[in-house]
Amino acid sequence: MLKIKKNIAISDSGFVFDPGTGDSYSLNPTGLEIVQMIKSGKSFEEIFQDFATKYEVEEEAFEKYYYDFTTTLKQLRLTEPNGED
């Protein structure tokens, strides 16, 4: 399962700091929600369920954007390398 690296600091404002590289990032509110859910160990299905009750979004569309987003997280090396793949 996808895991955010433990040492990554995420604040409520969506500010992300990677102490390993010194880089910082900002998340939009949707991105922040997803990252927090991933951090709390939720699976894609659970995350989608939460989103579907709160937002106007189809599963297909959500899946597309979810994977695009998590691919970016991987590219930025914010996830554990031996997580899901």
Binding site: S11, S13, G14, F15, F17, S24, S26
Partner: protein, 348 residues
């Protein structure tokens, strides 16, 4: 005497190795015996040092770039004004001046005062207009002509002697020693800044500068001449010394009185070996070395604020000759929390 409390917003907080004038202007204002300023920084980038220099800058707001247009910038200024009640705004970047000059009236209606050159003064002193400027005001300027293609230069090559200076409309200048080099620099600059390219006579000599302030009626409120004693590879002064030079001052008075210059300016001059002064450029704002003038006895940032407030200002008549500055860099230690706040909230 009771100091006047004023909220002063200013930009140019990039106090890096080729610094903006924001911090030096702030130091002048903090030294003032007349004004008790609250300094509101306007920042474009999360890593401008100014916002983190709390002993000088009281509060910082990020603002959109002038290239986004007048409206987004004014919207942001309106928001800041609601919170801070800005009395005077001092833009310190060249790229902002046009936008703020265009917004002068709107700002005034909001209750924000500025003290800027007029659009005409601003346009007239553009590099590509230098020869006309020189002719109109009787100031010696290097001979120059704009060209649209390198073939254009073939037609006028006879009018120049090598080396010549190849200049972009806004930025960049190279010295070319033959036709081939003109071609190389032409293409290099044109790719970056577009056309026309200005070909300028190369004037050999020592670069000297004047920082000055005009009241808009033709009077010079203050002027201090300086020579850079050390120039970095980016062409910035790393050290400088004030000069006693009546000729430079006279030239400054002449330019200010004829153009009725309003606001701060920096004159870039070349003194040739036969002691003639050529004007290379007018920067339409106070330069980053303005604190040297403050230290030499002319607090020009303070005077500029007083003029903006329409308060009486007595022209300076003296300054200390031989006053020096040496620029240094300094590693400030900052808190990540503050960086987070500026980058996510846009305020610090």
């Amino acid at each position: 005497m009771e100091k006047i409390k004023l909220n002063i917003a200013l930009s140019g907080l990039n106090n890096i190795d080729s610094p903006g004038p924001g911090i030096p202007v702030t130091r002048g204002l903090k030294d003032s015996l007349l004004i008790d300023p609250k300094i509101i920084g306007l920042a474009y980038d999360n890593l401008e040092p100014g916002p983190y220099m709390h002993e000088l800058i009281d509060k910082t707001y990020k603002v959109p770039y002038p290239s986004d247009g007048v409206e987004p910038l004014l919207d942001r200024i309106r928001y800041i004004h609601e919170k801070e009640h800005i009395d005077v705004l001092i833009p310190n970047f060249d790229s902002e001046l046009f936008t703020f000059m265009k917004s002068e009236r709107t700002l005034k209606e909001m209750g924000i005062r500025t003290f800027l050159p007029t659009l005409q003064q601003f346009e007239e002193r553009h590099k590509s207009n230098l020869p006309q400027f020189g002719e109109k005001y009787g100031v010696k300027v290097p001979y120059s002509e704009p060209i649209g293609s390198i073939m254009d230069f073939r037609k006028i090559e006879d009018k120049f002697e090598y080396p010549v200076v190849v200049k972009g409309k806004f930025y960049d200048a190279y010295i070319a020693y033959d036709f081939e080099q003109v071609g190389i620099y032409f293409n290099k600059i044109a790719a970056k800044w577009g056309l026309p390219i200005v070909i300028q006579e190369f004037v050999k000599g020592t670069e000297v500068n004047v920082v000055a302030l005009g009241d808009g009626n033709g009077n010079t409120i203050g002027a201090v001449p300086m020579r850079k004693t050390y120039i970095t590879d980016k062409g910035k002064g790393w050290g400088g010394i004030t000069l006693e030079d009546p000729v430079m001052l006279e030239l400054t008075h002449k330019i200010i009185s004829q153009t009725k210059w309003r606001g701060g300016m920096e004159l870039e001059l070349i003194r040739t070996s036969d002691n003639e002064l050529y004007m290379i450029e007018i920067n339409p704002r106070l330069p980053a070395w303005v604190y040297l003038a403050v230290a030499a006895g002319q607090n020009l940032p303070e005077a500029l604020v007083m003029l903006a407030m329409e308060m009486p200002v007595k022209p300076f008549s003296h300054y200390e000759v031989g006053k020096m500055f040496i620029r240094y860099s300094y590693d400030m230690i900052c808190d990540l929390k503050e960086f987070e706040q500026l980058s996510t909230k846009g305020e610090l």
